[in-house]
């Protein structure tokens, strides 16, 4: 394997840090200026992100002129312990470049949209401050030049997203969702930390170059552990099984937040981490199989649940879970499929952001209602939203010649190309997922915009202002064309990172896969059209068990409750009566389980000096006895 080196940054590329500094500065000004900035604050927020986008384009252009296609920038030393040194360093290479363009580009459109969407909200300035903060954190994540910096960004996006989800503090559901997102992420972050310590222990460095160059010398068990730990971290951030439950709940935040964080950027951080660490993942076939399994399982899981949901944002959320499953599948397949995963990620960033913003526009028109059973016939009143949503719809289900066709089909083909029975299973799952995607997206689209009106009495839908429809149109155009335009340049652009792209050969030829996929997609969409063109019941009816299971998130919540929460609660109740005015009971399953143990153990804390002294004495006896054991040995 070739040694990986990163060239030092020069020229404009030495200004890479400004990419992070711009939105960070915006956030700082907005937070410090207080109410004085209420009048112009949102435009400052848009301005910094716009400037960052312009800079990202400039950096992109400079990078493409380089031979080495990488720019490494050491800012200052963070930690130096013995011969271990960790710098605050940045790396701008083809992979980070596409992420920077996505984050600042789509981010800019969403910022502009939010100016209109949050116009009535008293806390708009604070919202933009958090929004800028999030963008800065996300840029740290993708620009970090070692795992430590990536982790810093990783935690910071967690914090910023927590603030943004919980932004509507008056909604208790939003507060709970914020908590859930944060706690789930903390669990997954343990994986990241342990992975870093494993690297330090085995290789003595967390620099990308050092880790990748030393990766081949790792023992099988170490590389397995490292891969699985990174996978756990990635699953947590990206809402993949078994950490999927937080993502749909996070939709309680304002819609632009959902579009930016839960569609375009933060949830794809897991894909970024795996793609960045592709050398580690390629080392061990078992790790790759695990990634593929997680991806295939999650893409079906999300698609099935998505079919049964009635809340417009939740359908889109589960659809995000499912689409990221496709990306995991791609990066798990390894080899040339890495680039496919990133390609789908970019295309998804466009169409999903467009769909989310479109749903926000619909909610704006319908007094913040989200139940698609009470929509219908909206295409007449909001033509722009309708047209852009249509673009997103054809893109996500992957009809020729729109985005999804160019990015999802190759993933399905690559899945079929896996060796042996695994190829049939993963390929079959990906294909079934495509059919289900077509079904639930068509159901969503038809129930929202077509069919008879099923509105509640007090709504008077209207088209959103130009500041909201403008970004929608741009995202819509991106959804339509991006796939075809990007497919070969992006693959080529990423070659320095992932190596040459090889056409997969497997059970089915690419042509066969394309034909079959298109057929099932059309079938799924047609079925949904046929079922729902005449509208649907205004309230959900009793249904057969598969639908009930899907409505209940396929048992995800129930498992959470059954495995973690209930035993924890029982243990807790049995030991000590919970303080009723306490800190809202116990928030989440894991914490409840720990809480139960905690209460039991606390029964030892009696308050009597004699029992404390006894504890010290017995401890001393144990210590002496343990040392004696050493003597005898």
């Amino acid at each position: 394997m070739d040694t990986i080196t990163y060239a030092p940054a020069s020229g404009l590329l030495a200004w890479t840090w400004a990419l992070i500094a711009l939105p960070a500065l915006g956030a700082a000004i907005l937070l410090l200026a207080g109410r004085r900035a209420d009048k112009w604050g949102h435009w400052l927020g848009v301005g910094t992100i716009g400037a960052a986008f312009a800079l990202a384009v400039g950096l992109f252009a400079s990078l493409s002129g380089l031979d080495n296609k990488s720019a490494h920038l050491d800012l200052f030393t963070l930690i130096a312990i013995g011969d271990l040194q960790i710098d605050a360093s940045l790396l701008f290479d083809p992979l980070s470049a596409v992420f920077c363009l996505l984050i600042t580009g789509v981010g800019l459109l969403i910022h502009i949209y939010a100016v209109g969407y949050m116009a009535e909200d008293a806390g708009r300035r604070k919202f933009f401050a958090y929004f800028n903060l999030f963008a800065a954190a996300m840029l740290v994540l993708v620009l970090g030049g070692n795992y430590f910096m990536t982790f810093v960004g990783w935690e910071a996006v967690g914090l910023a997203s927590y603030l943004l989800i919980a932004f509507w503090q008056l909604k208790p559901a939003a507060a709970t969702a914020g908590k859930k997102a944060f706690l789930t992420n903390r669990v997954a972050d343990v994986g990241f930390l342990l992975a870093m310590f494993t690297m330090l222990g085995a290789l003595g460095t967390v620099d990308f170059a050092g880790v990748f160059n030393g990766a081949e010398s790792l023992s099988t068990s170490t590389s397995l552990a490292l891969g699985l730990l990174l996978l756990a971290a990635a699953c947590g951030k990206s809402g993949q099984w078994p950490f999927q439950t937080w993502l749909p709940d996070a939709m309680e935040g304002p819609t632009p937040v959902s579009a930016l964080i839960h569609a375009a950027t933060m949830v794809t951080a897991g894909v970024y981490l795996i793609a960045r660490s592709h050398i580690i993942f390629s080392l061990n076939p078992n790790v790759q199989t695990a990634v593929v399994a997680v991806g295939a399982l999650t893409l079906l899981f999300g698609a099935i649940v998505g079919c049964a949901k009635d809340d417009i944002k939740r359908v889109l959320a589960w659809s995000t879970v499912s689409q990221i499953g496709y990306m995991f599948l791609a990066v798990g397949l390894g080899g040339g499929a890495f680039a496919l995963g990133i390609l789908h990620l970019l295309a998804h960033g466009f169409f999903k952001a467009g769909l989310f913003l479109g749903s926000g526009s619909v909610m704006h028109a319908m007094n913040d209602q989200t139940d698609i059973r009470r929509f219908g016939g909206l295409w007449r009143v909001m033509p722009w939203t309708y047209a852009t949503f249509l673009a997103g719809w054809v893109a996500i289900i992957g009809l020729f010649p729109f985005s999804g066709y160019f990015t999802k089909d190759p993933i399905i083909a690559a899945a079929f190309a896996r060796e042996g029975w695994q190829g049939w299973v993963t390929g079959g799952a990906a294909l079934l997922g495509a059919a289900l995607t077509a079904f639930y997206m068509t159901r969503l689209f038809v129930l929202t915009f077509h069919g008879p009106k099923r509105w509640t009495e007090d709504v008077h839908p209207h088209e959103s202002p130009a500041i909201m429809t403008g970004p929608l149109v741009l995202l819509g155009l991106g959804s339509l064309g991006a796939g075809a335009l990007m497919v070969s340049p992006v693959t080529e652009w990423l070659t320095p990172v992932f190596g040459e792209h090889a056409e997969p050969h497997g059970h089915l030829s690419h042509m066969q896969v394309t034909v079959i996929t298109t057929a099932v997609v059309v079938l799924g969409a047609a079925l949904a059209w046929f079922l729902f063109r005449g509208g649907t019941d205004e309230v959900p009816r009793a249904a057969a068990w598969p639908v009930r299971a899907a409505r209940a998130d396929l048992g995800g919540e129930a498992v959470n409750r059954g495995v973690f929460e209930r035993p924890g609660r029982l243990a807790a109740n049995a030991s000590v009566a919970i303080d009723a005015r306490g800190v809202d009971g116990v928030v989440n399953g894991l914490s409840a389980a720990v809480g139960g143990t905690s209460r039991r153990l606390l029964a030892l804390q009696t308050g009597f000096v004699r029992s404390y002294a006894l504890s010290i004495l017995s401890g001393a006896v144990i210590v002496v006895a343990a040392l004696m054991v050493v003597v005898i040995q």
Partner: protein, 515 residues
Amino acid sequence: MNEALQIDWGGLAPLIIVFAAAFGGLLVEAAVPKAVRLYVQVGLAVAALAAAFVTVTVLLLGDKQTTAFSIEGTAIGSVVLDGPGLFLQATIAILAIVAVLLLAERRTTRGGDFVAEAAVVADSAADIQQRRSDGATEIFPLTLFAVGGMMMFVTAGDLLTMFVALEMLSLPLYLLCGLAKRRRLISQEAALKYFLLGAFASAFYVYGMAMLYGFAGTVDLAGINQAGISSGQPRLFLYIGVAMLAVALLFKAGAVPFHMWTPDVYTGAPTPVTALMAACVKVAAFGGLLRVFNVGLASSAWDWHLILTVIAVATMLGGAIFAVTQRNIKRLLAYSSIANAGYLLVGVIALGEAVGQTMFYLAAYGFTVIAAFAVVSLVRDGDEEATHLSRWAGLGKNSPGTAVVVTILMLALAGLPFTSGFAAKFSLFAAALQADELGLVIVGVVSSAILAFPYLRVVVLLWLNEPAPDAPTVNLPSPMAGTVVAAGVVATLFLGLFPGYLLDIVDQASIFLNT
């Protein structure tokens, strides 16, 4: 006798300054009129500690590696002035300045947190009477004696000096714990508990010292280390001695299963005293542990490694799990101080690889925890501190400034990036890895993830819950406590964003003098 005892007065200067000021403080009590006594005492204490800090810093930058006493060029190791000793002295001095400011706070509750006459029967008519009067100012000389003891403890090079220092730091603290003006019974109970158990632990110390003397024929740490290699005595003495000594030191450090006193004493003692204990005593206790194990017992590391590992694991997990269900902010901080003791023990076990990082951790944690207790003393229901967490709900609505400060401190204690808590934990665990302690690091990461829950819950509570109609008030501005909080928050953020500066210093200062 006394043929040529050379004394390094310059090296002893910090200790001399602090003890002299303590005695001076006693004279102030007798000589200075009551009206200005508080100002004189606080001024004296702060000036003495600042002078001590400056002298220590000069010694530290001068790269001093010597003993304070020597006879004709032969070092006597009773007081050792080396990198770790001096750095920890400096840390104790600066944290003590912050703690003294907190002790001097008189705005939050009239007359301060301390009782005027400790001998009055609790809740008697006289006691109720004296609640309105100003607190005793003897607390300042008492504190100085304790701080002097701590500074001596971390530089003590033989077990006897260390024992004297241990008692010197403990006795004033027992007293200070019992001086709370409110909830006097709980405060007195805490003092008595702390005293009884502390005396118990001291007995272990003396017994362990005797055993080690029997084994090595000396109480000098370097001599004990040498004996560990070459002594002809039965090793049984060594093992019993190590075990007893470890029990006593781990008691002061608050490690499981010697931790039981911590929550009760932390809750019962007046909050400024708790802050002093959580920050300065922690530094002293771990300074002592580091020296004993690095200098005195390094040669027998193989023998004690297992049991200390078990204790570290129990402490890390125990403290974190206990902390999860706490509803009282002071108890939460107490249990988290136990878990932190576990992380620090990892640094002790890693021996020479992690001395510097352990000291960094001590300094970082000290500032954060002192500020946290200062905030606790600011949030009040009428005259009493609102320590129950349900009372803190919605603080972000009523007093956003305080809530921001609490959030920063809680995030630091939970160990999130950009705060000193993360930098400290990360560098400590990374150093432990270099000593091949992967197992302990894994337990440490898991434990700190558990410990993050209760802290983040406080953050959630502050910002996302509705305040109760009779929500507690935040007493601002109170200049003394305000300064303490500001200092703690600035240190927390600075060490989190730019840990490199202090890590460089501790790296320079991490070599024990081995005579």
